[in-house]
């Protein structure tokens, strides 16, 4: 296995590859750059009405009834739906079926959707929504996850135990789910440790903040069938959620997609789609509803706040021996993807290191806050914030270099993951070498001071090593050869802006040696596309890409069957030539074009050429002979990508403000199908992680979100971008991936908060256990440190 390491854009392409390995432009470039790309808010249908939502004003209350008279009297109002239009037996949920299409019987958070209005204009719909009166019986809310576990806490769901679940969740009271993993001898191993570090850490709720707010448009056709466009990450998850929550047969709902203005996890599960479908069915007219930014903040979902207790033991030589991790996740009002986030965070709690004795366990609890769910990193940024800081503390106490400690313990090629799943490709060592060299960290440490350091400012370097899966669940692909020898690819995978349409097109084109211009990609459509679980879990390049390559291989086989008859030779004597030809090996002039073959197939022999593939990821996560598991939400999760990150920060002693000066992020992605797009993922993930580390925090005032606006919730702008942000792509050639590829969508965010925390500690000696690391918290740390030094 050979590995090549280069910065994204500068890598040569192997000579026999024409379509993959190149930084070709996104295939939607022209439409997106001319402003003609159509996102959900840009769709208009004849006779279309505009929708608006009514939101709960209470964190926890029983709904006694609704008074719609004033709202219905407003001219231009065409339909209003409330919980009375829902059946209490119909509930949705990825892991636990605990959620109605919108509030039914009870409200469980401030901002929850309780009703919807369809009217002639958006302004009328919003005016009518303000006139809907809901009669509430206010209940005592559960706002803190620790309080939720108390015996006297109110119940967020009275009948949580009876809900349908897809795994052994252990749901009881306000415990939504619990999970535990053990390997080795986690109770006895502490006696073998020379040093033990232990700490508690808190992470905050982060908003996804796609610049496009969520929305949907539903239209009922003459036969009574509904077509639903929406901002989504999976047309199939939308179909399942809407049909489960409304009790519709799947045959009655077709889900399609416009262009998507990014997701980061926010658009994977349902938001307004069930409400909008119900409005369209009631109004018998198309209804479009687009959330305002404030509504999007309040009603959709956010990254889980974690409370983490972590303990790590090592020998004097730095060898890691034992780890215990205990997590408490605020799940908010509904299960959503929470059980998955808990299970995955526990699976990843050790990071990419060999720790023989591990006990990782935790709970998700229901509270009266918005749903917390999938967000880029899926629990890994949180556990990494704790884990990588503990490794630095061990290094400091053993007087070891932080990178030396990591190199001693990190997974080498051939080492399994925690749980003993085999890891086939591992480029971590190269990632570490690159970021060490490129950041100049080692050289500047040796000199004992930083260049350009100014009075009142302190600089430091921090490192974090991470990993992420590519994988999960099922995918398919259909590759159809059209009459003229060009190809239509259909996968059902929604491109949320990251470029999967382009990458999958490249994989298909390469497999058939066609120029990418001769491959069109169909827009996902539950009527015509093969099932695709979704654009999530860093899975599309790897999981869907594999299906594309296999479906294309079937087309190649059928092309060769035709060609062997047309050229009167054996199938094994044939090869594909670039540009759409099948030729006798080594005799390029004896060839037939794809167009000639496809014409023959369509009109004379064999029928249209179609290649298909479908599969489900099936590698087991845990070896039951060596580990015990309780409440495992994903028995088969994915393969592993690796990353290393170094950051350099400068702290202002007077204000506590942290500026990131530089970041060097190396990611092992197997093989870069499109190096420029891969680099874009790594850069974008770093900046989103920098916001998570330093400024972004959803804050509640009682049950009410206090900062649901872009004025008060601060994401990084170009002004905060470090002077240096470099992405490096390491290619370790994953044997099971398409052309050796793994995925890279989430990997780059996982280590950011940890690396910045380690850099702050390197500069100041202050260890921060709470995110975000605001100037106030940094200053508090500095002051406590100097007060401590005075004693």
């Amino acid at each position: 296995m050979s590995t090549a390491t280069r910065d994204g854009l500068d890598r040569p392409v192997p000579g026999d590859r024409q379509a993959v390995g190149r930084p070709i432009q996104q295939i939607e470039a022209a439409e997106k750059l001319s402003g003609s790309a159509q996102y959900i808010a840009d769709l208009y249908r004849p006779g279309m009405l505009y929708g608006a939502i009514v939101q709960s004003t209470h964190a926890h209350a029983r709904i006694r009834g609704y008074d719609l008279s004033d709202a219905l009297a407003l001219a231009g109002v065409r339909a209003i739906v409330t919980g009375d239009d829902l059946d209490e037996h119909h509930r949705m949920g990825a892991f636990i079926k605990d959620e109605p299409g919108f509030a039914k019987g009870k409200v469980r958070y401030v901002g929850e959707i309780v009703a919807g209005v369809a009217a002639d204009t958006e302004e009328i719909a919003r005016a009518a929504a303000r006139l809907v009166k809901v009669d509430y019986e206010v209940l005592s809310p559960v706002l803190d996850p620790a309080d939720a576990l108390g015996s006297d806490a109110a119940r967020v769901h009275e009948r949580a135990e009876s809900y349908e679940k897809v795994f052994d969740s252990g749901t009881a009271g306000n415990v939504c789910s619990r999970t535990a993993f053990r390997q080795g001898e986690p109770d006895g191993a502490w006696a073998d440790c020379d040093i033990v570090v232990e700490g508690e850490y808190q992470t905050q709720a982060q908003a996804h903040l796609s610049i496009e707010p969520c929305g949907a448009l539903a239209e009922v056709d003459a036969a009574g069938r509904v077509t639903l466009w929406s901002a989504n990450q999976s047309v199939f998850r939308v179909q399942a959620s809407v049909c489960e929550s409304l009790g519709l047969p799947m045959t009655k709902l077709r889900c399609v997609t416009p262009r998507i203005g990014a997701g980061f996890g926010n658009k994977m599960e349902a938001h307004v789609q069930p409400l909008v479908v119900l409005l369209a069915l009631k109004a018998r007219r198309p209804v479009k509803l687009i959330l305002s930014r404030e509504e999007d903040f309040e009603t959709v979902r956010a990254r889980h706040p974690f409370r983490i207790r972590m303990k790590t033991g090592a020998r004097k030589d730095g060898t890691l021996v034992a780890r215990e991790t205990e997590l408490l996740l605020d799940g908010g009002a509904y299960g959503d993807d929470s059980p998955g986030v808990l299970g995955y965070a526990l699976l990843m709690n050790c990071g990419p290191y060999r720790i023989p004795n591990v006990h990782a366990h935790g709970q998700v609890v229901y509270t009266n806050k918005m749903r917390f769910g999938a967000m880029r990193g899926f629990g890994v940024p949180q556990v990494t914030f704790a884990s990588e800081q503990q490794l630095d503390e061990i290094a400091r106490r053993l007087d070891m270099d932080p990178l030396a400690l990591r190199r001693r313990n990190m997974l080498s090629p051939g080492d399994p993951w925690f749980g003993y799943q085999e890891v086939r490709s591992n480029g971590l060592a190269q990632c570490v070498d690159i970021v060490e060299r490129e950041s100049g960290m080692a050289a500047r440490r040796t000199r004992g001071c930083h260049d350009d350091e100014r009075p009142g400012r302190r600089r430091g370097f921090g490192v974090a090593l991470t990993a992420h899966i590519s994988g999960l669940l099922s995918s398919g692909a259909i590759v159809r050869m059209l009459e003229d020898g060009s190809v239509l690819l259909n996968t059902g995978a929604v491109d949320i802006g990251q470029g999967s349409n382009t990458v999958l097109t490249q994989i298909c084109a390469e497999s058939l040696k066609l120029p990418v211009e001769r491959v069109a990609i169909a827009s996902p459509d539950t009527d015509g596309s093969p099932y695709n679980w979704g654009t999530t879990a860093s899975r599309v390049t790897y999981v869907t890409g594999r299906s594309v390559a296999k479906a294309a291989a079937e087309v190649e086989r059928k092309l060769k069957e035709h060609a062997s008859e047309m050229l009167e030779c054996g199938i094994d004597d044939l090869e594909l030539l670039p540009g759409g030809k099948v030729a006798i090996k080594g005799v390029g002039q004896r060839s037939v074009s794809f167009a000639a073959i496809s014409g023959r197939a369509h009109w004379a022999a064999g029928g249209p050429i179609i290649g298909t593939d479908s599969w489900v990821f099936d590698q087991k996560t845990f070896d039951p002979k060596r580990c015990t598991t309780l409440g495992l939400p994903f028995p088969q999760i994915g393969i592993f990508s690796f990353g290393a990150l170094v950051t350099e920060v400068e702290i202002d002693d007077a204000t506590g403000r942290v500026r990131v000066l530089g970041a060097w992020s190396a990611c092992d992605l197997g093989y870069a199908i499109n190096p420029a797009m891969a680099r874009g993922q790594v850069e974008g993930a770093f900046v989103q992680g920098m916001g998570y580390a330093l400024t972004e925090e959803l804050v509640w005032d009682g049950g009410r979100l206090a900062n649901p606006t872009l004025m008060d919730y601060k994401i990084p702008t170009v002004a905060e971008l470090p002077a240096t942000l470099r992405a490096y792509l390491v290619e370790s050639e994953e044997p099971s991936g398409p052309f050796g590829a793994k995925s890279v969508g989430e990997l780059g965010i996982n280590g950011v908060a940890a690396a910045i925390a380690n850099a702050i500690a390197d500069a100041t000696g202050v260890r921060l256990h709470r995110l975000p690391m605001t100037p106030e918290r940094v200053l508090d740390g500095l002051l406590a440190d100097s007060a401590g030094a005075g004693h």
Binding site: L33, A127, I211, A262, T709
Partner: protein, 169 residues
């Protein structure tokens, strides 16, 4: 009964959009963004926050970049409004679009129309901006996908392209 006030008070306005006189119906509170999108189906300008922060609705009014979401439609009578759709003949916009494509300076594309309009305004006023000037000019446009590195590179490349053409002509 009580219609929302601005719908009730809607009047016909004549606006000059992308060089053409158009008649629209707008109430006192209707923003230029709503009129552009819902009446004229000029949807390049996006509603990301409706509060003037994200910059996705950036358009030009009398040659200066402005937030369509913070501009009342009625305030635009007599003004020259230009949206991304009306800038296709601008050499600076063409250079920017080419550079954004080749540098992959967008992913989802939702913020991109606003980014392009802001960048064109920069280049019209400063044909050879350094990185600091690019950062200042683009700091009012939020992007959650790219991490901005490729956007800075694309604006810089577009400026170079325009400079080369200017020098040779």
């Amino acid at each position: 009964m009580n219609l929302p006030s601005s719908t009730a008070e809607a009047t016909i306005l004549t606006l000059r959009i992308n060089g053409e006189q158009v008649q629209v119906r707008a109430g006192l509170r209707d923003t230029l963004l709503t009129v552009l999108r819902d009446q004229l189906q000029l949807t390049a300008a996006k509603r990301g926050c409706n509060q003037g922060v994200c910059g996705a609705c950036t358009i030009e009014i009398d040659g200066r970049p402005a937030r369509a979401c913070l501009t009342l439609a009625r305030a635009c009578e007599g003004a020259d409004v230009r949206t991304l759709e009306g800038m296709s003949d601008s050499p600076a916009m063409k250079a920017l679009q080419d550079a954004f494509a080749s540098h992959q300076a967008f992913q989802c594309g939702f913020c991109t129309p606003g980014m392009l309009v802001s960048a064109r305004s920069l280049l019209e006023g400063n044909p050879a901006p350094d990185e600091a000037a690019i950062r200042v000019a683009m700091s009012g446009n939020l992007c959650r996908c790219t991490g901005y590195v490729s956007i800075i590179a694309a604006v810089d490349a577009a400026a170079s392209t325009l400079g080369d053409h200017g020098a040779s002509s």
